[in-house]
Amino acid sequence: MFQEESSGGMSQGAAQNSQAIVLWLKMVAIINLASQALSLLSILIMMSSPAMRGMAGSQFVSFLVSGTISIVMAIKMLQQAAAIERYGQTRQLRDYESSLTHESVYWMIAGIVAILFTVIMVFLTFAFISFGDQLMRELGRGFRF
C-alpha cells in the first residue's frame, strides 16, 4: 500500500508502523469495553444477593468513575484506529493528523489519571510507613489460625 519513500511527510516505514497498530488498538479497545461490561455484570449479580448488596453499591460507585474513564479511552482508541485506517486508504496526511488528535486526548486522560494515581500512591506509601506497625499488629492478629 505504501510504495513511495515519503508518504505525506512520513517515511514509508513510519506509515507501515502506524498501520501495524490498528489491529492492536481495536483489540485492546474491545477488550476494555468487554471488561467494563463484565464488571457491570458482576455488580448486577452481586446486587441480586442480599448479603452482597452493600459491597455492590460501593463497587458500582467505583465502576461509574473507572468505567467512564475506560470507556472514553476505548472510544478514543477506536477513533484513532479508524483515522489511521482512513489514512492508509487516502494517504492524506490530514487523516493521520486526525488520528493524532484522538491519540493526544487518549494520552492526556491517561496522564491525568497517572498523576492522580501517583499522588494517591505517595500519600498511601507514607501513611503505610507511618502507621505500619499498627497495621502489622492487626495483620498478625488476622493471621492467627
Binding site: M10, W24, V28, S35, L38, E97, S104, W107, T118, M121
Partner: protein
C-alpha cells in the same frame, strides 16, 4: 529551531505535517513522558512498600505472604517498567521529530509505539482470558 517555529513547514499542505499536527505530536510526547515518569515513581513506591512489608513481616505469622507479594511486585514492576520505558522512548523520539523535523525520528517513534501496542495487546488478551475464567468460575460455583 524546531518545526513548530518554522513557518515554511506550515500551511496545511499534505506534504508535511501542519502546525496543528505537529502540536498534537508534541502533546503526545509531553503526556507520554509524564505518564512514564509517574509510572516509574509508582513502581519505586511499590518496591519501597514491598521492602517495608518484608522487614515488618519477618518473624510474624504473616511472613508466609512475603514470597507471593514480592513475586507479584517484581513481575508487575518488571513488565510495567519495560512498557514505561517504551513509552518514554516514544515520547523522546516524537519530541526529537518535532525539534529536528527528521522523518527518521518519527519512524523510530512509530516503531516504538508499534512494540508498545503489541505488548499491551498481548497482555490484554491474557488478562481477558484470566478474567473470563474467574467470572465463569464465580458464576458456575453458584456462590451467589
Amino acid at each position: 529551531m524546531g518545526l513548530l517555529d518554522d513557518d515554511r513547514m506550515y500551511g496545511g499542505q499534505d506534504e508535511t505535517f501542519s502546525k496543528q499536527g505537529l502540536q498534537q505530536i508534541k502533546n503526545v510526547a509531553t503526556w507520554t513522558r509524564i505518564i512514564a515518569i509517574c509510572g516509574f515513581s509508582i513502581i519505586g513506591l511499590l518496591l519501597l512498600l514491598a521492602i517495608f512489608l518484608m522487614t515488618k513481616m519477618a518473624g510474624t505469622p504473616a511472613s508466609m505472604m512475603i514470597a507471593p507479594v514480592l513475586m507479584v511486585v517484581l513481575i508487575a514492576g518488571g513488565l510495567g517498567g519495560w512498557l514505561l520505558f517504551l513509552l518514554l522512548q516514544y515520547g523522546k523520539q516524537s519530541k526529537s521529530f518535532v525539534d529536528s523535523g527528521n522523518p527518521r525520528d518519527y519512524e523510530a517513534a512509530t516503531g516504538t509505539r508499534k512494540i508498545y501496542w503489541l505488548v499491551v495487546g498481548i497482555l490484554s488478551i491474557l488478562g481477558a482470558l484470566m478474567s473470563l475464567v474467574s467470572t465463569f468460575t464465580l458464576l458456575g460455583g453458584g456462590r451467589f
